[in-house]
Amino acid sequence: MITTTALTKSYKKVPVVRDVSLRCEPGTITGFLGANGAGKSTTLKMIAGLVRPDRGTATIDGRPFVELPNPTRVVGMLLDASAMHPGRGGRATLKIAARLAGVHPRRVEHLLDLVGLTDAAEKRVGAYSLGMRQRLGIAQALIGEPRALILDEPANGLDPEGIAWMRTLLRDFADHGGTVLLSSHLLHEVQATADHLVVISDGAVVAAGRLDDLLASSTILVRSPDPAALAAALQAARIDYVAGPGAAFTVDVSGGRVTTEVLARVARDRQVLLTELRQSETNGLEQLFFSLTAGKTAPSHGAAA
């Protein structure tokens, strides 16, 4: 079980992570989804004790990571596949990890085989491709037969076959009672792997829950030829929205306050012409996520922040 409560971190007064609370149960895979720079890695590093939170706590099986007596037996971590000594071979890297974890050296060969690196085991890690480093990193995380896994962007650099392999591996791990927390900036990746989801944007959690529930949550799409006027109207009515591609705005209606009718009235009162106003038929989560990431680059970020 991985738990965080109100983790908060600022760098030079710029908030990076704000009040992030997570709860990952045994037997589940939690996807930690967010755009690049949303605060995923910093959150994971706080769980790992690498970064000191300004506020908040993080525990694994009820204890802070740094207080675990033999941490690699409890939780395996892959936070940065490039953070391995390039001068050492794959086998040597795993042997060191095995010694630290106090497991039998035979497990090294088993894991090299599992991640398909047996033939490259003597090659220096510096000569590995990113995908190979990810595989080695996953082997390193698994070395102590941990009960939990924390993986930062594990799919990076893996080919489609490798991604499918990793999904099976993680599903298997969770089905045997393991807890998995993995981050990704790719919704489809997370959707295919995780059963729980936490979406983070600008350092704060914007959606969390079971994947099925989140996929069901609905939004309204509203479009105007004059997006600036629409934005002003929504702001005046204190309706949160996210600006998506093609001048389409997405409004979250999970609160129950906003309906298509409310939006139509707001537009009429402010004399804004609407060309589209409908419940999103497409995947609500995708809509939310795309608008959150698109909002990063869109000039009119508006009330979404």
Binding site: L50, V51, P71, L79, A83, G87, A97, A101
Partner: protein, 227 residues
């Protein structure tokens, strides 16, 4: 184990040994330049050793920060003081092994010198040997101190090769600096087994160049955000 199992580390240690052997060969070939005593041959070995040994010690402490593998290390052993203690212990062991190696090289040099019919004064006392051992270990610890504090390979190596000579230079002018702060003076007293009236100075320079920076470096490493 992690200090010796990469190509770069092996090269550095080999160079370290090589510099000692070369120094000794110079001493054997050019005998006029120093006293022909057992102690001075040991001294030559130590000078060869400490050219690169502090760099090895620095890299022991900075390498993982620079290579970012510190992130992996700290997720495998999050109690950072244990990691640092292990590095310190390995540095000391390495210093000990290096000192023994230097002793062997010195003995070989003496053997060669004796074989060439050179008169040698067998003046080696226990004090000399202890002084030699301490000198090598102090130089390793000096490297550890820079590495632990600076936590960047380039920065720490640049620092040790500029600050020490700079202090020595100031020591030329100011005897106060020379006698208390310049380790080329104070630690040479240790090497020469010349403790008389120098103990406070020696201790002061050890606190200044070893104890304080290591303490500050450990505190910094424990608090520092990684990654």
């Amino acid at each position: 184990m992690k200090a010796t199992d990469t190509r770069a580390a092996r090269w550095l240690l080999a160079l370290c040994g090589l510099s000692t052997v070369v120094m000794m060969l110079v001493a054997v070939i050019v005998p006029r330049s120093f006293d022909q005593t057992y102690a001075s041959y040991l001294r030559v070995a130590s000078i060869g050793l400490i050219i690169l040994l502090p760099v090895v010690a620095i890299l022991m402490f900075t390498g993982e920060w620079s290579q970012r593998s510190i992130m992996t290390t700290f997720t495998q052993e999050p109690r950072r003081t244990r990691v640092l203690n292990a590095k310190l212990a390995v540095s000391l062991m390495m210093g000990g092994v290096a000192a023994v190696f230097g002793g062997v090289v010195a003995a070989a040099g003496l053997g060669l010198a004796a074989a060439s019919g050179r008169p040698l004064e067998a003046n080696l006392s226990v004090g000399h040997v202890i002084g030699y051992l301490l000198y090598v270990v102090l130089n390793v610890l000096g490297g550890v101190a820079f590495g632990a504090l600076v936590q960047s390979s380039a920065g720490a190596i640049a620092a040790i090769f500029t600050i020490n000579p700079a202090v020595a230079l100031i020591g030329e002018v100011s005897t106060l600096v020379g006698d208390w702060i310049d380790t080329e003076t104070t630690w040479n007293w240790v090497l020469d087994n010349d403790w008389g009236g120098h103990v406070p100075q020696i201790l002061f320079s050890i606190v200044l160049w070893v104890a304080l920076p290591i303490a500050a470096g450990v505190a910094r490493a424990i608090r520092r955000d990684v990654g």
